[in-house]
């Protein structure tokens, strides 16, 4: 039971300009659930991608069942009964479940006739029943929900006979209920003898499901311990390298006048289908309104509509800081009265090949502060940028450095610094901490709270329930383009919000 199934010794992997793994040692025991904990960029995914043959390490040895092995490609990994469920699903939506599962399995010249496909379907069905996954092999992947797609991914790994399962941040895309069902399922698999490596940055999941945990930071192993002998605070400290505030201290909100009032907002997507279906709400000065929901339920379109960045929008009323806005001048009014921290910082929040200081002035470049007679004032821009860098503790060698070279957390700080400096009456924040480390998350959260205390009305859209509860004063739940409920921001409501995120309009009535 306790013999190691896998040992990775002294794994080193560098990419141009980045050392992802600097001599990592990892030992996995047969039949255990082993959590691999670390912040984004700590090297967890790279380490597992090496194990799965997606990357070749610069040096180091992998032992499977005591034998040194080399894994040059995912084909090798599959042959050695290693399977991986990636954070971004590796499923082609236009193909069926079965087609996705048998990709690469048969020699090229194999004819996929009815009989052969029938056999495959049969095998998938029986596996699906055996593990209670409820997967239909003939279904087209594009028709499946995110939770179902994940079950297909797991089934894919089981189909290929894996006895070592790697899961990369599997709960990131799930509702809380789906996530806890997944964790239970993993326990079941462990009972059946499967070994699982579970990549995560969520401490509660580690505590809930794992037998042992290894913490990675900056590409190095900080330590491995038995889960029952440790606690979240100790793990957080190992992960970040210093004490972390586990809870933000939040003063009671004192809401003022409405800064954003919307009624019956509708948005259609490129194909003309409704994605936001008549949404009405108000955000008042000095409060944070959280919008909770599973990704893809209309949040992105809602944010773009409020920022005036999408064409097919209609509404009965749209007021910013008490003034009525028409459809035609929505973009201009939104720019005048509000600031926007967009969900995808790299695509919408910055110009990657530009320098840090150029990114600071993206919106205000023509104001007298930064330009005179149409010429940029280099010195003013530079000293302004240096100031901002200091104020927001942004790690950068010089403000003339390309922003593309910064870590995700520091990039996000640039965006936040720029937007907050516009002193908006209304602030639209979408996924402010996705993919950034705990330290930067903490900082961004504090900045958002400080902004609220300074009297800004804030709409916070996030798929991270932790974040919603940590920051919001009120919570709206969005499901399939509709706001299906409003709740107070109170931890006791977590389960209710989770059920509503899955589409239950009135969870109390069950």
């Amino acid at each position: 039971m306790n013999s190691p199934i896998l040992r990775m010794e002294n794994i080193v992997k560098t990419f141009p300009g980045v050392v992802a793994n600097r001599g990592v040692n990892l030992e996995i025991r047969r039949g255990e659930i082993h959590a691999l904990l670390g912040e984004n960029g700590a090297g967890k995914t790279v380490l597992m991608s090496i194990l799965y043959g997606l990357y070749v390490p610069d040096s180091g040895t992998i032992y499977l069942n005591g034998q040194p092995i080399t894994i040059k490609s995912p084909k090798d990994a599959i042959a050695k009964r290693i399977g991986m469920v990636h954070q971004h699903f590796m499923l082609e939506p236009t193909l069926t479940v079965a087609e996705n599962i048998i990709l690469g399995q048969f020699p090229s010249w194999t004819i996929l006739n009815k009989q052969r496909i029938g056999e495959v379907h049969e095998k998938i069905r029986s596996l699906s029943n055996q593990f209670g996954l409820g997967v239909d092999p003939a279904a087209r992947v594009s028709r499946l929900s995110v939770g179902e797609q994940q079950r297909v991914e797991i089934l894919k790994v089981l189909y290929h006979g894996a006895d070592l399962l790697i899961l990369d941040e599997p709960t990131a895309v799930l509702t809380p209920q789906e996530a806890s069902r997944l964790l239970e399922f993993l326990r079941d698999l462990a009972k059946k003898g499967l070994t699982t490596i579970f990549i995560t940055h969520k401490l509660d999941e580690v505590m809930q499901v794992s037998d042992r945990v290894t913490v990675l930071r900056d590409g190095q192993v900080i330590g491995t311990c038995e889960t029952r002998e440790t606690n979240p605070r100790a793990l957080a400290k190992m992960m970040v390298g210093r004490e972390v505030l586990m809870d933000l201290h939040r003063k009671l909100a004192s809401p003022g006048e409405p800064v954003l009032a919307i009624s019956n907002l509708r948005v259609r997507d490129a194909r003309g289908l409704p994605v936001v279906k008549g949404v009405s709400f108000t955000v008042r000065a000095g409060e944070i309104v959280g919008v909770a929901g599973v990704s893809g339920n209309g949040q992105s379109e809602l944010a773009l509509a409020i920022a005036g960045l999408i064409d097919d929008v209609a509404f009965d009323r749209f007021q910013l800081e008490g003034k009525d806005v028409t459809r035609r001048d929505l973009r201009a009014a939104s720019h005048r009265h509000s600031a926007h921290i967009p969900e995808d910082r790299q695509k919408m929040g910055m110009v990657l090949p530009f320098s840090v200081s150029e990114n600071f002035i993206l919106e205000e470049y023509s104001s007298p502060r930064f330009a005179r007679h149409g010429f940029l004032r280099g010195q003013a821009i530079r000293s302004y940028s240096q100031n901002q860098v200091k104020k927001f503790d942004i790690k950068v060698s010089d403000v003339s450095e390309e922003i593309a070279n910064l870590s995700g957390g520091n990039q996000q700080k640039v965006v936040v610094a720029r937007e907050l400096d516009r002193h908006p009456g209304f602030l639209l924040v979408n996924q402010p901490t996705r993919g950034i480390d705990i330290g930067a998350t903490e900082f961004v959260h504090q900045q958002i709270l400080a902004q609220r205390d300074g009297g800004t009305g804030i709409l916070l859209i996030s798929t991270d329930l932790e974040e919603i509860f940590a920051l919001s004063d009120r919570i709206l739940v969005i499901f399939e383009g509709e706001i299906i409920g409003e709740l107070p921001s109170d931890r006791s409501q977590v389960e209710k919000v989770g059920l509503m995120m899955a589409g239950k309009r009135d969870p109390d009535r069950e």
């Binding site: 799965y52 997606l54 990357y55 490609s73 995912p74 084909k75 599959i78 991986m84 990636h86 590796m90 499923l91 082609e92 236009t94 193909l95 087609e99 996705n100 048998i102 990709l103 690469g104 399995q105 048969f106 020699p107 090229s108 010249w109 194999t110 004819i111 996929l112 006739n113």
Partner: protein, 312 residues
Amino acid sequence: MDVAVILAFVSGILAATWRMATPLIYASVGEVFAERSGVINLGLEGIMLVGAFNAYTAAFYSGSLWLGLLAALFTGVLLGLLFAFFTVTIKANQIVVGTAFNLAGSGISGFLFESIFLKSNYSSLGIPTFNDLSFPFLTKIPYLGDILFHYNILVYITVLLVPLASFVLYKTAFGLAVRSVGAHPKAADTMGISVSRMRYICVVIGSVLTALGGATLTLAFANQFVEDMTSGRGFIALAAVVFGGWTPWGATAASLLFGVFYALQLRVQAMNSVLLPYQFLQVLPYVATVLALISVRHRAGSPKALGVPYRS
């Protein structure tokens, strides 16, 4: 005009349609493979031209049309490997490489033709061409015989080629791998499929069929090479792939549609009574192409990773 005249006119057009569509069918069905694997080979025009030239040269010196065909096949393999090397291995921009192929194909074939053939004193530059097959009875059926049963072997090969291509793409493990590599290469990679290998194979398939399409021009339709004789057929084949929704049957249907306009243009030119300058008529197939592409501009179905080099 009475019915017989109209009937003769229409059957005249239809009788030339399949022949005019044949080079397009070869090239577009081949290109379906390349594009379904994620590589857009904009260099079809150049490859077709070089294929036509090499087929002609080989046939001219050997006296064998089959050796000419073989030369086109090798040309396709070599150019396909070269194109794949640039776009898959080096990951160069596919549009730029394709454009370079077109420029080089036109320049090299034109230059070689001039220096090898035009500057020498061959008494004739003509070669024999593939004869039309004749079928007992069938060829003699009025109208239908003309429309279906009076072509050479290269035209009839398309009858086998298209269903075969469709079968390979949709009913074999290879085809499944091709489609996955063009739509979601990372997923294919994680399942142990070599994205590079698949793309090499598919680019070569596309290039070979395109070069063979070029060979039909010199070995079956004209009896000698002419500078830039493909006159845009490579580009029209690319359009046929899009208009045909990236399927072998669709690309073939699109090729036949464009073939109708080639045939119409030829037919009308041959009628002395028409007052339009012939250049206006020559434009017909290209106008049809543009209109066809406009009509499908909203259609989904393009392989999602089309034109994007894969980096693991």
